[in-house]
């Protein structure tokens, strides 16, 4: 299974080197990758249908419990087949759509990375690896949206999409880590066994909010929906594949995957129903005001995602069944409509629905595909869309509480979606062919076959629902934790409330289509509401955040070293001082301390005198000499207290430092008295307080017991393991040899830096005037 996931990444890597061969006629060959993967996953259908869950596990970071654990159940299988199946058609379609494009190889590479990441996402059982793949899909989506990187709008949309989905990824990581610490495992299968304990856990709500944050951003739920219409700047195959059929459904997938772990609580269900309902209605209404075909499709996609979230929120067996069917329905018709739109755009050069008409006369097969998809989207029998709509209504009418409201919301959404489907699938092909489109030609079969195939599948599955019943739909319901044995899919459900609702939907929808014509006037009207849309609110927030951080930075990063040091020291003094005074238990046990001998006192006095002289002398050479004295006094302290190695090193370094200063001193500026008296007093008080605090801290620490296990270990093993008797040296060259190796490298870098700084000549032009 790992190979299957890695195949996409490997192919992308391969394209880096062999890309130029895949730009021309060979491009279509790359479609073999998703095709073979599709066949591979399809071969699992019998095993999964019989209730088996195929798992495979690879150790990755075992010490943190992060493995590449993969499991294939009904849910994963449905998504895998969608990813590879639609992927195959999109690969084929692209080879013609972007024929002879300069960066076709690059496009295929991004697409392959995306496919691999998406497969990894739906197959991962470990949340951490799921998160990694989740982020990879966001990143590949970023590159694909910004594929036309010469257009500023594309780049901006790509950035928005990355920002929103990246935020979601962050939320997923937080949720994953939280769930991991709550359950002690990162495996979703293992988490399912702890459902009860999780629901009662104090952090349950928080974990759910994190998972929602990830799912809602990825699946473009209100108020995070606005990145998706922007993402339509991507080439149409990308919109088809990522932003309609697969990637945006990752959020839905996440919710379904976590339903058996976190679902079935009031909070979970209510939030999903409310968010799903708002999203589906809000964006369905938006479709009325769009004239760009892809805009219509983008909003209807968001609406469809809203329906899915809403269905997951209902949480009944019927709702899950409806969701499973609707995922298939939507993937089939929405991909078709996108591909059809792509063909129109490619051949006719416009996506403006107000000017498009009568294209059936020049591209009949495309018109058929569009018509069938529109039928399916409208839920008119015998398409599978009808089945999906019936099941959705069925689930809504059986919901607990507020049935009227829920049914009304879903019916209204469906009416508007029918309108959107007709606008995208039928409108461009009906009516009189305008003069300027008479020269429009049919595209190559590589372009029109994929949408037609998908559209026909939508009808075939509608007439023979048993084809997908036990192979795809039932395992999904099982994977969501409901019994699926009594499910039977059929077009005709008998004459009941649901059928009446269906008839109302279709009738009103078609009426709406004939009354309401998309126009620029309508589009402008909604444009007036732009300032209060979530997108502009976010933009304003971003702007104010920038202003604020600039202000903040200017306050603290003002470029004066003195101020930085003052701030740091002041905060340290206040914080540590506060804690210290609050909990002061400074007891000095005189019996434990060593005696002060006369020579030690003498050294101390010399040292302190040296420090004072260094600080207060006006002569630089005097300061350097006094500093040397301070160093030598410290050296003596090392001698007194059993550190001969330190004493030797300190002595040599002290000598060298003084030499160094003497060498450069005459090249260095004279002492300047720059600060006034007041400032010096202020700094003096600050530094004395700080020094006093450090002294007190040191004494306080001395009162605490010391742990010398590490030192004891080294001391015990110095001779036995490392054949050395000078333990300090043994630590340096043997026990901690790697540290020393790095340290001498740092030293060498410092020397090279000094050499470079001095040998480097400053050009006169670089000199400030």
């Amino acid at each position: 299974m790992l190979t299957a996931i890695l195949l996409g990444f490997l192919f992308a890597l391969f394209l880096v080197f062999a890309g130029k061969y895949f730009k021309g006629r060979l491009a279509v060959v790359s479609a073999l990758i998703p095709l073979s993967l599709f066949i591979y996953f399809a071969s699992f259908i019998p095993r999964i249908a019989s209730g088996e869950v195929v798992t495979s596990n690879y150790e990755w970071v075992p010490s943190f419990g992060v493995n590449l654990g993969f499991s294939l159940d009904g849910l994963s299988l449905l998504f895998s087949l969608m990813i590879t199946g639609i992927g195959f058609l999109v690969y084929v379609y692209t080879s013609s759509y972007l024929k002879n494009h300069q960066y076709l190889d690059r496009f295929y590479a991004y697409l392959s990375v995306f496919m691999g990441a998406m497969l990894g996402l739906v197959l991962s059982d470990n949340i951490i690896s799921m998160f990694v793949f989740w982020e990879l899909t966001s990143i590949s989506s970023f590159f694909l949206i910004g594929f036309n990187n010469t257009s500023e709008a594309s780049r901006k949309s790509a950035l928005t999409a990355l920002g929103i989905t990246g935020f979601g990824g962050f939320s997923l990581l937080a949720g994953a880590l939280l769930l991991g610490s709550m359950t002690g495992t990162y495996s979703i299968i293992e988490m399912m066994t702890m459902k009860e304990a999780l629901a009662g856990h104090e952090f349950y709500i928080l974990a759910v909010i994190f998972i929602f944050g990830a799912a809602f951003t990825k699946s473009a739920q209100f108020p995070f929906h606005f990145w998706l219409p922007g993402a339509m700047k991507a080439p149409t195959p990308v919109s088809t594949y990522l932003h309609s059929a697969t990637m945006v459904k990752a959020g839905v997938y996440l919710l379904m995957r976590f339903t058996p772990v976190l679902g079935d609580t009031n909070f979970w269900n209510t939030t999903l129903i409310v968010v799903g309902a708002i999203t589906m209605l809000y964006s369905a209404v938006h479709t009325l005001f769009r004239t760009d075909l892809k805009g219509v499709l983008a909003y209807s996609t968001i609406s469809a995602l809203g329906i899915l979230v809403f269905l997951i929120g209902l949480g009944s067996q019927g709702a899950f069944l409806a969701a499973a069917v609707f995922i298939i329905v939507h993937a089939l018709y929405k991909a078709t409509l996108f591909l059809v739109t792509g063909i129109i755009d490619h051949q006719a050069g416009t996506r403006n629905v107000t000017v498009l008409a009568g294209l059936r006369k020049v591209m009949m097969p495309v018109a058929v595909a569009g018509f069938l998809a529109a039928i399916s989207s409208a839920g008119i029998p015998p398409s599978i869309g009808f089945l999906g709509k019936e099941l959705t209504y069925e689930a809504s009418t059986h919901s607990t509480g507020m049935v009227i409201l829920i049914v009304a919301a879903i019916v209204l959404t469906k009416i508007l979606l029918l309108y959107a489907g007709f606008v995208a699938g039928i409108k461009p092909f009906t009516g009189k062919l305008p003069e300027k489109f008479t020269k429009v030609t049919m595209p190559g079969p590589l372009m029109w076959v994929p949408p037609l195939l998908l559209a026909i599948l939508g009808i075939v599955f509608g007439i023979f629902p048993s084809l997908i019943e036990s192979s795809l739909v039932k395992p999904v319901v099982t994977a969501l934790g409901k019994d699926a044995s009594d499910i039977h899919l059929a077009l005709w459900h008998g004459f009941n409330t649901v059928l009446i609702l269906s008839i109302i939907t279709i009738a009103v929808g078609i009426l709406l289509y004939f009354i309401l014509k998309p126009s620029e006037k309508l589009e402008n009207r909604i444009g007036k509401l732009e300032p209060v849309s979530p997108e502009s609110i976010l933009n304003k927030l971003t702007y104010f955040f920038g202003v604020f951080s600039k202000f903040w930075t200017n306050v603290f990063q003002n470029g004066y070293l003195r101020n930085y040091v003052t701030t740091i020291v002041l905060f340290l003094v206040i914080l540590v001082g506060y804690i210290f005074i609050g909990n002061s238990r400074l007891v000095i046990d005189h019996t434990k301390l060593s005696q002060i001998t006369a020579y030690e006192l003498a050294v101390t006095i010399i040292l302190i005198a040296g420090v004072f002289y260094t600080v207060f002398t006006r002569s630089r050479i005097g300061a350097v000499a006094a500093m040397g004295v301070v160093g030598l006094a410290i050296c003596l302290l090392f001698v007194f207290y059993s550190a001969p190695d330190l004493a030797m090193t300190q002595f040599s370094i002290d000598t060298l430092t003084v030499i160094l200063f003497v060498l450069v001193l005459y090249r260095l500026p004279k002492y300047l008295v720059l600060s006034d008296y007041k400032m010096r007093i202020r700094d003096g008080i600050l530094s004395l307080t700080f020094g006093g605090l450090i002294s007190l801290l040191a004494l306080q620490v001395l009162a605490e017991p010391v742990n010398s296990d590490v030192g004891d270990f080294y001391a015990k093993n110095a001779y036995i393991m490392a054949h050395g008797k000078n333990v300090v040296n043994v630590i340096l060259v043997d026990f901690r040899g790697t540290d020393t190796l790095i340290e001498i490298s740092v030293l060498a870098i410092a020397a090279i830096g000094v050499y470079g700084l001095l040998k480097l000549r400053v050009k006169s032009s670089d000199r400030p005037n």
């Binding site: 470029g559 600080v615 301070v630 302290l637 500026p669 700080f690 333990v727 030293l747 670089d766």
Partner: protein, 117 residues
């Protein structure tokens, strides 16, 4: 003696910070050196000071027979002393270089030229 040690450390820290707060470049370097010495002594003190028992295994023995000073802080400080030499020399040269280019010893003026150019 520990109390004297603590006082010495306090004085070194205070002097170091005071020198760093000056505007003169040379004083800045001296401040850093003093602060570094203070930090070394602090580590040394916190590892507990022991008189007359260096962490060296006696000639005839394979392990320590008596009390010994903790070798870990000593190893830490040893590397710190050597590294600080690298730091000092680099800082000194940087100052010299900066002085040559900007022709000022005032840290505040260096800041100003940075923004104007």
């Amino acid at each position: 003696m520990e109390i004297l040690f603590a006082i010495i450390i306090g004085v070194l820290y205070a002097a170091g910070i005071y020198m760093i707060l000056r505007r003169s470049l040379v004083k800045l370097i001296i401040g850093i050196i003093l602060l570094g010495n203070g930090a070394n002594l602090l580590i040394f003190l916190l590892g507990r000071i022991t008189e007359g028992a260096p962490p060296i295994i006696p000639e005839e023995s394979k392990v320590f027979l008596e009390a010994y000073a903790d070798p870990v802080p000593q190893a830490l400080i040893l590397t710190a002393i050597v590294i600080s030499f690298g730091l000092q020399s680099f800082a000194i040269i940087l100052v010299k270089r900066a002085h040559k280019v900007v022709k000022t010893d005032d840290l505040d003026e260096m800041n100003a030229t940075d923004e104007d150019s």
